[in-house]
Amino acid sequence: VISTAAILTARPGAIVVTSSTPLWYTTRATGLVALVLLTLSMALGLASSLRFQSQEWPRFVTLGLHRNVSLLALAFTVIHVLTTVLDNFVAIPLQDAFVPFIGTYRPLWVGFGAIGFDLMLALIITSLLRVRMTLRAWRLVHWGSYLCWPVAVLHGLGTGTDTPVRWVLLLTAACVLPIVALTVWRLAQAWPSRPVAAAAGIVMILATLIAGTAWLRSGPLAPHWSVRSGTKTAQAHKSAQAGQAANGTSSTGQ
């Protein structure tokens, strides 16, 4: 998606430098791969929580896959973060990857990514140290996965360059629906012992789905999202002008 800021600041005939660097492509690609892996990890975690097993699929397979897929998801997320920081197409310093909402580029939507990344690190570190922790403490942190995954999805939809692309939307739907189904199943399983919490959970999921779809239609899928997504435009303009002054041809700042 060619940024509106770049179009606005570019003079006719000027060379517009947009998302053409390998790092930026890597950021977009690893983001999508990380989403798929994180979804797979979440699904395996839920399957484990549901005590899923069969003759061909013992429980240790679910757990082993869950662990390895989670580590792989972290690896791709680390690459995603590093390429985002190293690429100078948009100015996202390293601290923005850890501390949410402090940046200038789409702070809210990049911030959700930071929250997800922090949670991922906490989830993986506590799971690696699990045998040295109390079950209670580990479980408390691991409940964070129910926040980590939705926040990651929101980050992807809110700031993903490729969100409006049909197959990316379909991929996101293919990630969201199984997790919703498995979580509802998990809540239904908890119904007999905790009916209020289970009902509240199911209502919250449905409300989030409806609100999320409405937001998606009026937000990232509606025109001019790059303008409305909260990038501090004054700064973007300034850096764009500085860029033009520096080399006379290009403009930056999506």
Partner: protein
């Protein structure tokens, strides 16, 4: 063939924490079998060294952290 022992590691289960998930029984059938209700029964004695990696995995993968590997002499 003599079975090598390494520092006499022993497996123990905490029956209060155990919730009969059965993961340890799947991972280490050589030493852990199931009772009629799915709870683990652990073979007495030290863990043979060649089974130690699996024993460690069973400990790490126990959903309720009810399995312990002790290195008592």
């Amino acid at each position: 063939v003599a079975v090598a022992m390494t520092g006499r590691h022993e497996l123990r289960v905490n029956p209060i924490k155990c919730d009969a998930h059965g993961v340890c029984i799947e991972l280490l059938p050589e030493l852990i079998r199931s009772d009629p209700w799915g709870y683990p029964i652990i073979a007495p004695g030290p863990v043979p060294s060649q089974l130690l990696p699996l024993a460690k995995r069973a400990v790490a993968d126990c959903p309720t952290l009810a399995l312990l590997l002790t290195s008592g002499r």
